[in-house]
């Protein structure tokens, strides 16, 4: 009896801790939906900033590298900028790259169960359509 009680208490404590950890990790980004296959939204322009094969595999390195160069060194080339991606890849339906499940940056990510927090801060819509109050 005591043993059972022991197990229950320890188990309950562990379960609460794990559940909270999980819940916190779920907070960031969208939940991973069960999308059978990524349907990729048509992009503006006729080609990407780098060969498509390369972009599919390495866009994260490209973005992170650009991020550090822009933030710390003030290099503001258009090519690899996140703003650039948004401008070409925003979907016609939502005008965004990350508003809905089907939008460009979310399509493969839900498929691959990747979660990104970029659009908690970065606008997911191009400048002109942004909700902000530009004069």
């Amino acid at each position: 009896m005591k043993r059972v009680l022991e197990a229950v208490v320890v188990g309950a404590a562990l379960a609460t801790a794990l559940a909270t950890g999980w819940a916190i990790s779920q907070e960031r980004g969208a939940p991973a939906g069960r999308v059978p296959k990524p349907a990729i939204v048509q992009a503006r322009g006729d080609k990407c900033v780098e060969p498509v094969e390369f972009m599919r595999r390495s866009h994260m390195q490209v973005l992170l590298h650009q991020r550090d160069r822009t933030v710390h060194e003030g290099i503001r080339t258009k090519g690899h900028s996140l703003k650039g991606c948004v401008e070409c890849h925003a979907s016609a339906a939502t005008g965004s790259v990350a508003a809905e499940e089907g939008d460009f940056c979310r399509s493969c990510h839900s498929y691959a169960a990747v979660r990104i927090d970029c659009f908690e801060c970065h606008a997911s819509r191009p400048q002109a359509v942004a909700g902000g109050v530009k004069p």
């Binding site: 003030g74 290099i75 503001r76 080339t77 970065h122 819509r125 909700g131 004069p135």
Partner: protein, 244 residues
């Protein structure tokens, strides 16, 4: 390594600049703002950006700089204790003489910023051209920088945000402050508050390169008395005030 690299890069940059000057018509060059820098060029320590605020021209009750800052950077403009304020109008009154003054206070872009010293992850940093920034990608929201700042210049984003300005990403849980409108400066423009103050007909804020003796700001501080706030701390802020 980075020193030599930077030197080489700078040399190449100057070389490229010289070449460009020779090839592009000088007329085009004149149209470019004085502090323009090519997008692919890294910032250098050649310039140090600063502000000079003439409190004699700054009026109590005028908050053109504050609203312009809020609009430019996508701040709500709300002033609860949990809301971010990158720039604020401070009204001063000397109890001994009764003299009043009104002036804007924002990040003072120190040469020796305490926020940078205390930041545990290195998210707070001073860009080569003197602009003090937060790299929000590595800010963990510990708020030690807010504790350390003598000017109360920093804010934590207390709530989730939406519809940020594309040029100014902001998000819950990270610390932020005046960036001297770094995205505009890099385009060769002046900070939004400076433009707004001029547009309001006051022209109380001068923006420029403190390192360039020929710049308007450097000439003015060489000629007229100006002070730094809490100069006793020895932080050498890049923002100076006249008339207080």
């Amino acid at each position: 390594m980075s020193g030599r690299d930077a030197a080489r890069r700078q040399f190449l940059a100057w070389g490229a600049g010289a070449l460009a000057t020779l090839t592009i018509a000088p007329g085009v060059l004149l149209l470019r703002p004085v502090h323009g820098r090519a997008p692919e060029q890294a910032v250098t320590g050649k310039a140090r950006w600063g502000l000079l605020i003439d409190t004699n021209r700054c009026a109590a009750g005028c908050d053109a700089c504050v609203t312009a800052c809020n609009r430019e950077n996508g701040l709500s403009g709300a002033t609860r204790e949990t809301d971010a304020q990158w720039i604020r109008k401070v009204e001063l009154r000397d109890p001994r003489t009764g003299r009043k003054a009104s002036l804007p206070v924002m990040c003072q872009h120190c040469e020796h910023p305490p926020c940078v010293d205390v930041c545990p992850t290195g998210a707070s940093f001073r860009r080569a051209d003197g602009i003090v920034l937060v790299d929000k990608h590595i800010c963990i929201g510990c708020r030690y920088c807010m504790m350390a700042c003598p000017y109360k210049a920093r804010s934590l984003v207390h709530e989730p945000l939406a519809d940020q300005q594309p040029d100014v990403p902001r998000g819950k849980g990270t610390v932020e402050s005046c960036t001297l409108c770094v995205h505009r400066v890099d385009r060769g423009e002046r900070p939004a508050c400076v433009e707004a103050c001029a547009a309001a007909g006051r022209g109380a804020i001068v923006f420029g390169d403190l390192n360039d003796p020929a710049s308007a700001i450097a000439r003015r501080i060489a000629q007229y008395p100006s002070v730094q706030v809490r100069a006793d701390l020895g932080l050498n802020p890049g923002v100076r005030y006249e008339g207080i």
